[in-house]
């Protein structure tokens, strides 16, 4: 394989439960510097749960396994520590925070070193800077607000949860552009540092953002690591259950 970068993320034999029900079982994942990995899977298969667990969020309980980021174990670190180390997440359904303006959260994240106005302009979001975070935002507006925060944070590994879902056609190209910027897609791949893990149900995001590899979450675990285009085409033809048979 062409990739010469360092390993950014390593998930080892992760098993996760919630209220005693197993959601994820024996998950193994590796992501390298500069690399983008697509994670496909049907609704309810546990994609969000996996991302949240990598970020240290939610009520999920890690039964076995470990998570390493840039060679350091983060399995039980609080999310703020992981964020400071360089992991960022785009929520699928972020909460509303009343009274907290988009401008303020951008300043908090960027430690006043990023200019919210400038950042927001790039996503055509300037008029939202003085709105309460996520209050009354449409699907596309939520995604843009999430991406703005990530652009201010500049994480080395971006976890993106269904960036294209609920986004209209006009916004989706804006969203795609922001993700490309976040993941340094315009930098030559040998010099590219930023890594991404993108969840997609439909695979449409591939029309806007190149990915290096893809995999599928079925039956609580990861299947079929390979070319993301081939994988999504297989899924479109045979559905997610096809992955199970093809593996055998």
């Amino acid at each position: 394989m062409d990739n010469i970068g360092q390993k950014v993320l390593e998930v080892n034999n992760l098993t996760v439960t919630i209220n005693g029900n197993t959601l994820l079982e024996h998950i193994f994942l590796e992501i390298y510097e500069g690399e983008t990995l697509m994670l496909f899977g049907e609704n309810g298969s546990g994609k969000t749960s996996l991302l949240m667990t990598i970020m240290g969020l939610g009520p999920y309980k890690i039964e076995t396994g470990s998570i390493f980021f840039k060679g350091k174990e983060v399995t039980h670190l609080p999310p703020s520590e992981r964020a400071k180390m360089g992991i960022g997440i785009m929520f699928q359904r972020p909460p509303t925070i009343r009274g907290l303006k988009v401008r303020e959260i951008l300043e908090l994240i960027g430690h006043n070193s990023t200019d919210p106005e400038e950042l927001a302009e790039s996503l055509n979001f300037g008029s939202f800077l003085d709105r309460d975070l996520n209050l009354g935002f449409s699907g596309g507006e939520i995604k843009r607000a999430e991406l703005l925060q990530l652009l201010a944070q500049k994480p080395d590994l971006a976890l993106l949860d269904e960036p294209e879902s609920g986004v209209d056609l006009v916004s989706i190209s804006l969203v795609g552009e922001a993700i490309r910027k976040l993941l340094e897609k315009d930098v030559h791949h040998r010099r590219r540092k930023k890594a991404g893990l993108i969840i997609s149900h439909s695979g449409h995001i591939l029309d806007y953002v190149e990915a290096d590899r893809g995999c599928v979450l079925v039956n609580k675990t990861i299947w079929c690591m390979g070319n993301p285009h081939e994988i999504i085409q297989g899924i479109r033809k045979q559905g997610y259950k096809g992955c199970l048979t093809c593996q055998k």
Partner: protein
């Protein structure tokens, strides 16, 4: 029988009448006797704690103010107007200067409402009179300070505020005590008259102490095209506080907006309400309350009465309980008396959502920073139409309380 003696008679009859809301305070435990302080110039006032006043929005240098009024216990230390067309006097002086002012006394706050209104009449201890002449617009806010100094004092003031036709008046009232240990009672009657197309913004910042009981009684009458913006901030402990200001939107298109931000502490009893009576077409009323509890009991009330068609009113109350044993009781009421009214309310009481804390932590904030950010956001109410200096005062008060809250 003349008006005056009739008022006195009614007050006497109501001497023992308990208030509808709030615990009953034994007035016998307080006195109206206090030293008589001479008048003082701003910048030369040594009777008050400057910082406590500043935290209540009163700047004794008088900078960026269109007038100042300072009363300590029963003594008016200072009453000065600094802008043409904006009058600032003690109520006593104003009643002497303007005989017609009798007409405004006890007109919208009934003197026999309860024992507190009665005692404000029977043991009257001055107060402020602020008036904007027709068309006058205050460049800066007028500040009024009511200050408690003497132990066991009952400060009974009666304030009258008038915005004549087409005028605009901004007022900030700061209330504070001399020492945190002081035991005292403050009874404040305020009657606001907003004439045709006039506007009053009234920002009241309470900075009391743990042994103070407070019973404001106020009402506002708003005529055609008039606007009343009432902001109330109480972020410090107070033993017992009950208020229920009423706005009468009496003229076509009259508007009133109440914003209240309050924090309840262990051992404190707060009963914060407001009432809006919409009795003219196109009248609007909005009430927004944010209550935080770290203990004690906080009641937030709101009553909107729609008396004619084509009025619009909304009430929103959000409560946030930070500690386990705090209580917030939210009582929103809508009273639509005819068809064609548009009235709604929204109330929510809860604790800080873990999901929100984690969301901010995922952005790199520590848990404490995340909680502080959520609390700050919660207390932030978008207030429009307020001069920047008053907005800063409110933000400053919130900032100060954040530090003590978390």
């Amino acid at each position: 029988m003349s008006d005056l003696s009739e008022i006195e008679e009614r007050a006497k009859k109501a001497k023992e009448k308990p208030a509808k809301y709030g615990s009953d305070i034994d007035l016998e435990k307080f006195t109206t006797e206090a030293p008589n302080y001479p008048q003082q110039d701003l910048g030369n006032i040594d009777l008050v704690d400057e910082e406590r006043l500043l935290n209540a929005g009163v700047d004794i240098t008088g900078k960026e103010r269109s007038g100042s009024f300072i009363q300590v216990d029963g003594s008016v230390l200072h009453a000065v107007q600094t802008q043409d067309g904006i009058e600032v006097m003690s109520t006593r002086d104003a009643l002497e200067t303007y005989p017609w002012l009798q007409e405004y006394l006890w007109k919208i706050v009934p003197v026999d409402s309860d024992k507190y209104t009665a005692s404000a009449e029977l043991a009257f201890q001055n107060g402020y009179f602020i008036r904007a002449l027709p068309g006058a617009k205050s460049k800066f806010p007028v500040q009024a300070c009511l200050y408690l100094k003497e132990n066991k004092i009952s400060q009974n003031v009666h304030n009258i505020v008038i915005a004549e036709e087409g005028s605009e008046l901004h007022i900030v009232t700061g209330c504070a005590t001399d020492s945190p240990e002081l035991r005292a009672l403050h009874i404040g009657i305020s009657e606001f008259y907003i004439k045709k197309n006039a506007k009053i913004t009234f920002t009241m910042i309470h900075n009391w102490a743990e042994n103070i009981a407070v019973r404001p009684r106020s009402a506002t009458r708003i005529e055609e095209g008039g606007v009343f913006l009432n902001n109330y901030v109480c972020l410090h402990p107070v033993e017992s506080l009950q208020l229920y200001p009423t706005a009468y939107m009496a003229g076509r298109g009259a508007v009133s907006r109440f914003n209240s931000i309050v924090v309840g502490y262990p051992g404190c009893e707060m009963d914060i309400g407001s009432k809006g009576v919409l009795s003219a077409p196109e009248a609007r009323c909005e009430m927004i309350t944010r209550a935080i509890s770290t203990g004690g009991k906080t009641i937030t009330r709101g009553l909107l009465v729609g008396e004619v068609p084509d009025i619009k009113a909304h009430l929103e109350c959000r409560g946030l309980i930070l500690e386990g044993d705090g209580e917030i009781l939210s009582i929103p009421e809508l009273d639509g008396k005819v068809a064609g009214v548009d009235m709604s309310h929204e109330a929510a009481v809860g604790k800080i959502a873990q999901e929100e804390v984690e969301y901010l932590m995922a952005r790199g904030l520590t848990e404490d920073e995340a909680v502080a950010t959520i609390v700050r956001g919660f207390m932030h109410v978008d207030i429009t139409g307020l001069p920047p200096v008053l907005k800063e005062q409110i933000d400053h008060a919130i900032e100060l309380s954040e530090k003590s809250l978390l």
